[in-house]
Amino acid sequence: MSQAGLPDGTRFVLPDVAARRAELRAGLRDLYCTWGYDLVEVPSLERYEPTHPRAGQSFKLADRDSGVLALRADFTPALAQLVRATHPAVAGGARRPLRYQYAGTVWHAIDPELARTREFTQVGIELVGVSNARADAELIHLARESVRVVGLEPRVEVGNPGFVRAAFDAAGVPAGLRDPVADAIDRKDRSDLSTLLAGAQLPAQDVEALLAIPDLYGAVDVLSYARSTIPWPGAQRELERLAGVLAEFEDDSELMLDLSMARRLSYYTGVTFRAYTPDFGQPLLGGGRYDGALLPAAAGFSLGLERLLRAVAQRRSANEPDPLVLALDDPGARRLRAAGVRVLRATEVDVAAARSEARALGVPYLLADGRLEALDGHGDEHLRALEAIIAADGGTA
């Protein structure tokens, strides 16, 4: 599973893939910049916190004194620390929007037999210090744009764990049953759900309404259906909160709803969302509002770069030729590079040897003695364009 000599779940990133990863990161960084999200960096080493939600998946290290450190498993706690250190007023509850973006490695110490990777690159944003429908809508919009900016068609699914929590309060689901019941709702497992609820001795109409929650997903009109069928006022308020977020969108047709989203019920306090793209079976991005968990008001999302790259690679046509040139001719090479074309300088000095060099490297074009040549097996679709660049200011040298 691992590449020669590397620890399980780590790998080399080879040139083609590294270039595409850098492209994706740059596209996302620029998108978030134009919306005023400032780039920050946080340490990869953290103090080990047994109460951290990912503590069980931390790579732990012994510090030189008796302290235990952990490799960063998630950016959110470190960003919250950054806010507490630099904006104590916001950390204390003052209303002032702070926008941050980050990108970097996280490590998850998961079973290497099940995990393809234990070292990931996460890119994400956080909007801190404000908690309202406009802030939620900004993040959902940027989730959608994040998928679009890498060339994929976005589908964003929005939920509100607060709705499930309010339903539990209203129906009187006992505290000891809430985690397994929320889990069954999130898995849309009505069979487990009804078995669990049967033991709780709740009124029949409440059980019936709880059993209907797993099916409350689909296009945005699910919301009006839920508003007309859900019996509890507290849960109705949470539906209105979601309606308020949707009302921020001029066009909500790309949005979908899932009112049975009930993961990490004690962490997420408001909207949660995931982004998908058609014909790719896994979410590209996930996030939500977690007021009170780490900061009084905070929401954000993150994307896994590796998964995003797989989704993009699946779309890209497989035989898109790279107009790479091997050059013996420096003036021509200079003009090509100035136009943004990648040009390798030949390490051989005569044309025949340089031609072999290009073939050995899989480079499709050779530039020698002022003449550009498309090598065998490669199409000449870039040939005219490259020749035009070389000829542009006064012919070949």
């Binding site: 083609d16 790259l309 690679a313």
Partner: protein, 221 residues
């Protein structure tokens, strides 16, 4: 994951992009019951022409056939839109897949089994379900060791490899024949429809009628 793996995953993932639903079904007895249930729920599925094809176009869906325990993986990664698999497998994996229909068939209990009359402390438990067994033993405060076996788990009790086993029990016939008895029921299993979360949302126009149709079958929920 290596670079080569990345390419193969994207090639596989493209399967799910086909117009038709891709369904992951387990080999063996559950296969026939699954095909029957899917047909009754409204899918037109032709029997497979080549008896050995592992992936074939059955008309309304593309069927891929695999070991029971691999079904959740294919569905989780989106290579299949949906699949049918025993709840025992999902429990053992700690699966987070959406499982909107309990199909009711292939029903069995997951039980702790011992030789008839055995009463001493349990020191070693053999099972095909090491995770489930370990968490069950931990709940009971037992420090017994768990040994993973791949089949005929009852043999472990008969040969003294272990003093108890955790396994599925359907009718109990095998237990009686071998002088074994169920001493505790740990859980219940039956066949479930599992669905990829992205497919459920993006291909709902195909999957929701299937879910509704399956729920209407006798014994399903």
């Amino acid at each position: 994951m290596s670079v080569a793996d990345e390419r193969s995953v994207s090639a596989e993932a493209r399967v799910a992009g086909a117009e038709k639903l891709v369904l992951a079904l387990p080999k063996g007895r559950v296969m026939a019951a699954s095909m029957a249930a899917l047909r009754e729920a409204g899918l037109r599925l032709a029997p497979r022409a080549d008896g050995r094809a592992l992936r074939y176009d059955a008309g309304d869906a593309i069927v891929i056939e695999m070991r029971n325990a691999d079904v959740p993986t294919y569905v989780e990664l989106g290579v299949a839109d949906a699949g049918i698999v025993g709840k025992d497998v999902l429990l053992e994996m700690g699966s987070r897949l959406a499982e909107p229909v309990d199909l009711g068939f292939a029903a069995c209990r997951l039980s702790l089994i011992r030789p008839v009359g055995a009463s001493g402390t349990i020191e070693r438990v053999a099972t095909k379900y090491p995770r489930l067994t370990a968490s069950y033993l931990a709940r009971r405060g037992s420090s017994a060791e768990v040994v993973k076996l791949n089949g005929n788990v009852e043999l472990a009790c008969l040969t003294g490899l272990a003093d108890a086993v955790v396994d599925v029990v359907e009718t109990g016939g095998t237990l009686r024949d071998n002088d074994l008895e169920e001493v505790d029921v740990i859980g219940h299993s039956s066949a479930r429809l599992v669905v990829n979360r992205a497919s459920l949302k993006l291909r709902g126009e195909r999957l929701r009628p299937l879910i509704e149709g399956l729920r209407r079958l006798p014994g399903a929920f």
